[in-house]
Amino acid sequence: MSRRIEAGLSVVALGTWVALCGPAAAFTAYVTNEKGNSVSVIDTTTMAVTATWKVGRRPRGVTLSKDGKELFVCASDDDRIDVLDTSSGKVVRSLRSGPDPEQFILDASGNPLYVANEDDSQVTIIDIEKNKVLAEVPVGVEPEGMGLSPDGKILVNTSETTNMAHFIDTKTFQVIDNVLVDARPRFAEFTADGKFLWVSAEVGGTVSVIDVAQRRVIKKITFKIPSVNDEAIQPVGIRITRDGTKAFVALGPANRVAVIDAKTYAVEKYLPVGQRVWQLAFTPDQKQLFTTNGTSNDVSVIDVASEKVIKSIPVGLLPWGVAIAPN
């Protein structure tokens, strides 16, 4: 706890200097442990776990409030979202998420929260200040991936069994279009310019790149790794650099993260990480990428510039999601 206070003080003292400066910038990564019912807190500079916090059952999706003071965790089996105070590590309140929340994304303004209810074929939109459900949007079977356009106007949800990316208008909360992708879409990520949407298909083994204006798949990225069965290549998490040059895709039981030229869509490299890699998160300076490796119960840290795995950090049981705070 004192570590958190220290970190807070240093932020106050050093202001934005910390965020702008060199590799020493200290961030905090939060990893949900699906079977551990906990969150592992990692100092990104020392790359060590500094605390483990108890949360509700089957924690999966994780994200932070805009100011980094609150951590939101989907407690899927408790049908709620736990809100933790990042300075104390305590659950301070819970949000009415609807049944089985799996993934969510926070509006760019900091409110509302868009939640995929995996067991219930709907997206729930919650005002996090009033803890009030603003809307429930029916979507396909087993909704999971949640992406938000940079202008905040379009929310995309992927449904794993319906195999679609549902485009939802964030003003009217209506589904405005649906794009079929390959089997079991798990994750949706917009490019920073908002022009393209990348959707991974875990069972299909592909990443579809969708032209957002035309709502049409313009490219399907496939993967081939020598000595790995095609069936083991199961794309899940996607992260694209802000400058739009590089994309990283977690390949599940292939135990690799693919590095892709985000302009040409050529797969350039496969980085070996821990086992069954699912979710990814950049540090706010985009110098590091953290991966959750469910089967090996650890997190791999990738140096983005050199495209090398620099560290593996043991966390709790079955790490699922990761979010990184700017402080």
Partner: protein, 411 residues
């Protein structure tokens, strides 16, 4: 009995709204709307299910087959198809026929369904009924989805071009178990064979799998002690059954008891302490309540909410059959069986079905390629194909009859 989607799931206001819309659509559509394609308008695809409900157990049975075994799985498949269908303007309905005392004939039931315009028939029936139905509807263009008969002959000498096999063949099941034995280096098998034709066919499959994976059947005996697993007071016969396993050299006993009459009697009662597998104990199968990976937990929960009980293998198989139709109709944007049937055996068709890998049909015998779970009643033990079993096409083809060995010739 007609079960429109509306009877299946009503829980939230949001859902009811679209169901009302769906019903309105159904009401507007002529019964033969399925044939009108590829119209840009809505497509309604009725799917038939023919099944034979298990007779009620005579007295207390902790795991008696529920009356709606298979049916509940098909209903979930319809519900899932309709959830997707909301976005593709497709609706699916289930027309299920239970074969009972006054309506025992599967062929008559199939003809009636086809007469109503239904072109997709899911069968949870034995092999002879599958053959009779597929031959009877051959000229109607109807597609038969076999969700209940594991017989290898249906994929071999008795194969039919209009039949697609959703559940694995016995050869696939016993290959899965044999791969696990190979991994464990349990090379010596004591095979115990029950009295039914199914038991004998299962034993044949075990022998073939043993040959294929270089395991050895060091002992084999028929089971002659009756349905001891279902008997209550068993003391008189118990000693006899134990003696029956004496003096044998084996690593694992494999029981062939498809009816579940005695297989569960064998574990912990063998003279030598040995593991037991096959149709009971350590079992290769399509589904188990203990499966939770690859999204299976969601399917388990969805099923439990829908049916009020745990999902059984036959439910999963019926679900996968209905989802097969849904996936293909969504992809081809038509429900014309003349377009769907050939598409099913193309590599472009894949079915995500909670097995961690896409499932597809083998073009040479219309068998659905699939990973097979090896489970004990309380835990997942392994998944076949096991690591290291390689195949030039896909490791899934290390299970069951491969292209060079097939005896299937579609006419």
């Amino acid at each position: 009995m007609h079960h429109p989607a509306a009877e299946i799931r009503v829980r939230r206001p949001a859902r009811r709204r679209w169901l009302r819309a769906g019903l309105a659509l159904l009401a507007l559509m002529p019964p033969a709307a399925w044939a009108q394609q590829p119209a840009p308008g809505p497509i309604d695809t009725p799917i038939g299910l023919i099944y034979r409900p298990q007779p009620a157990p005579s007295s207390y049975d902790a795991e008696a087959a529920p009356e709606d075994e298979g049916l509940a799985g098909a209903r979930m498949g319809i519900a899932d198809n309709n959830t997707t269908g909301r976005f593709t303007k497709q609706t699916y309905t289930l027309d299920d026929v239970a074969l009972t005392g006054d309506k025992p004939d599967p062929v008559a039931a199939a003809r009636e369904l086809v007469g109503k315009g239904i072109r997709y028939l899911v069968l949870a029936l034995p092999a002879d009924a599958v053959l009779a139905v597929s031959d009877a509807v051959k000229d109607t263009g109807a597609v038969v989805l076999n969700a209940g008969a594991p017989d290898d002959r249906l994929r071999g000498a008795d194969c039919r071009a209009n039949v697609f096999h959703i559940l694995p063949s016995r050869a696939m099941l016993t290959d899965a178990l044999a791969q696990y034995l190979t991994v464990m280096r349990w090379r010596k098998i004591f095979l115990i064979v029950g009295p039914t034709d199914g038991d004998k066919a299962y034993a044949d499959a075990v022998r073939n799998s043993a040959r294929k994976f270089a395991l050895k059947i060091t002992a084999e005996k028929p089971w002659t002690f009756g349905p001891l697993a279902k008997a209550r007071g068993d003391t008189p016969t118990r000693a006899e059954a134990m003696v029956f396993t004496r003096g044998l050299d084996y690593d694992m006993a494999i029981v062939a008891d498809e009816e579940g009459d005695w297989g569960d009697y064998v574990p912990y009662r063998t003279v030598d302490p040995r593991p037991v597998g096959g149709t009971q104990a350590l079992t290769p199968t399509t589904w188990s309540p203990v499966l939770e990976t690859w999204g299976a937990a969601q399917a388990q929960n969805r099923f439990r909410r829908l049916a009020g009980r745990l999902m059984r293998p036959l439910d999963y198989q019926a679900w996968a059959a209905v989802r097969t139709v849904g996936e293909a109709v969504t992809a081809k944007k038509t429900n014309d069986p003349a377009a769907i049937a050939p598409f099913l055996s193309e590599p472009e068709f894949t079915l995500p079905a909670y097995k961690g890998v896409p499932l597809s049909f083998r073009p040479w015998d219309h068998q659905l390629r699939q990973a097979i779970i090896v489970v004990q009643p309380k835990a997942l033990v392994s998944v076949a194909p096991e690591q290291g079993f390689l195949h030039q096409r896909t490791p899934l083809d290390t299970l069951g009859v491969d292209l060079p060995e097939t005896t299937c010739k579609f006419k």
